[in-house]
């Protein structure tokens, strides 16, 4: 019993360290290829379209409703305490621009595009297409990983800005229609209080999220083992790990940005 427990702990730890090593190797290899300026322009553009354009509707929709629910909750709360809906625009815009916009967008894109990346690369791995890349003179990191990482870095900040606008407009609809807040009050609540550093606070986080989500999904995909079942396992693990990484890194990114005064 004790031996089995030690074996299980040992094997689990070995697996974690092995995975960490492989992940580090993938990141190092990506940096090396980028250093050689070996970028597949066409592949990168294809990925930008796939990740960006295809994720746009779902990102805008989720953000719009997030803005609506924030306005509703804030309106009800301030109505309850102050007998009138106060600072709805301020609360909605700060929550969306600094926190919910970047986090929600990263999570939605991880669930949609990240899962697709892990499944695609996983299928390529188990059907030997990744090995075929080697035999045909190119490197999977150069051909598969770099375009996806670059596409994430190009697209996620842009999608986040779009999500910010969508959420604020969603909040405006609820504030105007349900809380009867005059339009100029809602917009002035935003314009009078929001400074560029508040925008930068949320915007800079998206690069952290784009890096972590893209590397995790590529890593899980490219190290897939075990046929169709393995592809399913990798895809699930990629999405779960990406989402957890977004939430964990959000705290640390916020702490660093606060320390730098970008808040």
């Amino acid at each position: 019993m004790t031996t089995a427990l030690f074996t299980w702990v040992g094997e689990s730890l070995f697996g974690i360290f092995e995975g960490a090593g492989q992940f580090t190797f993938l990141v190092r290899s990506t940096i090396q290829w980028l250093g050689r300026r070996s970028i597949e322009g066409r592949q990168t553009l294809v990925q930008i379209v796939r990740i960006g354009i295809d994720s746009m509707p779902v990102v805008l929709l989720t953000s719009f409703f997030t803005g609506m629910v924030l306005a509703l909750e804030m309106g009800q709360t301030s109505q309850h305490f102050f007998n009138e809906p106060l600072f709805i625009g301020t609360v909605v815009s700060f929550a969306i621009v600094m926190e919910l916009g970047p986090v929600m967008t990263a999570i939605v894109v991880a669930g949609r595009a990240g899962a697709a990346i892990a499944a695609e690369l996983g299928t390529m791995r188990v059907t030997e297409q990744v090995d075929a890349l080697y035999t045909l003179g190119t490197d999977p990191v150069r051909y598969l990983v770099i375009p996806r990482v670059l596409a994430f870095l190009a697209v996620l900040p842009f999608l986040t800005v779009m999500a910010d606008f969508s959420g604020i407009i969603g909040g405006y609809f609820v504030a105007a229609s349900k809380m009867h807040v005059p339009p100029n009050v809602y917009w002035h609540d935003i314009i009078d209080n929001m400074l560029p550093r508040h925008f930068w606070h949320g915007y800079l986080k998206t690069y952290v999220f784009a890096t972590s989500v893209s590397f995790i999904c590529c890593y899980k995909g490219i190290t897939t083992r075990g046929g169709a079942e393995g592809v399913g396992r990798s895809t699930t693990a990629a999405v779960v790990m990406s989402m957890v990484s977004v939430l964990v890194l959000d705290y640390f990114a916020t702490a660093v940005l606060n320390a730098l005064g970008i808040t």
Partner: protein, 265 residues
Amino acid sequence: MIEAKGVVKRFGDRTILRGVDLTVEQGETLCIIGGSGCGKSTFLKCVIGLLRPDEGRVTVDGLDIAEMNEETRIGDYRRRFGYLFQEAALFDSMTVWENVTFGLRYLTRTDPSKFRSIAKDKLALVGLKDIEDFKPAELSGGMKKRVGLARAIAAEPSYILYDEPTTGLDPIMSDVINDLILDLQKQLKVTSIVVTHDMKSAYKIASRIAMLHEGRVLESAPPEAIKRSENPYVHQFVEGLSQGPIKMKLKDYEPDAAARQGTAG
């Protein structure tokens, strides 16, 4: 010439290759036969550099890929090879002609405007026409293998490695592939290693057959000599006999092992 000396390859606790010594002469077609899991495909992957041996070395024209670090030298090594994968491993997202010419972009300095006509020529060599714009999903198993073969020969390699080229094909299509391998041999004068457990195919295309069992080469000889081999392992395999020294595990439950455990307990 391809030369393997004492090649050992392990995956975790399992040792797949236990000291393989093999030489493939220029212009020769060596068929490596052996049961599933004996290390045939692993050896092929060690030759092209997809896997690195844990011990021993593989040299091709005197070059050892394990000693190469520079990308240009590795590219020069890989340029010598064409590789036909077991399931063809065509890229799903590309058309047939893009698949066939994929390696030209990285292995050669061919003008991209000529890619399509090159693809057409290579596809004609493997008996296919008017399928340039098809996607791999629209092709039958035999057609996929032939497109894979066209891709393997597109960069005009000196060596072609075939990983079970006839597996999963009907007998007629298997023979078509065998004829193609022989035709390419004559036309392109390439050196080939074919991994297979299809004896009919091995007898037809091989100039020499090597039998691999439990990670070691048991015998390496011309097809006629292999047919008449007195080695009991080789004889059992080439005749396809269930009785003999090669034990196939039919099920996980083994009465002998269970009885032994019962006694020990």
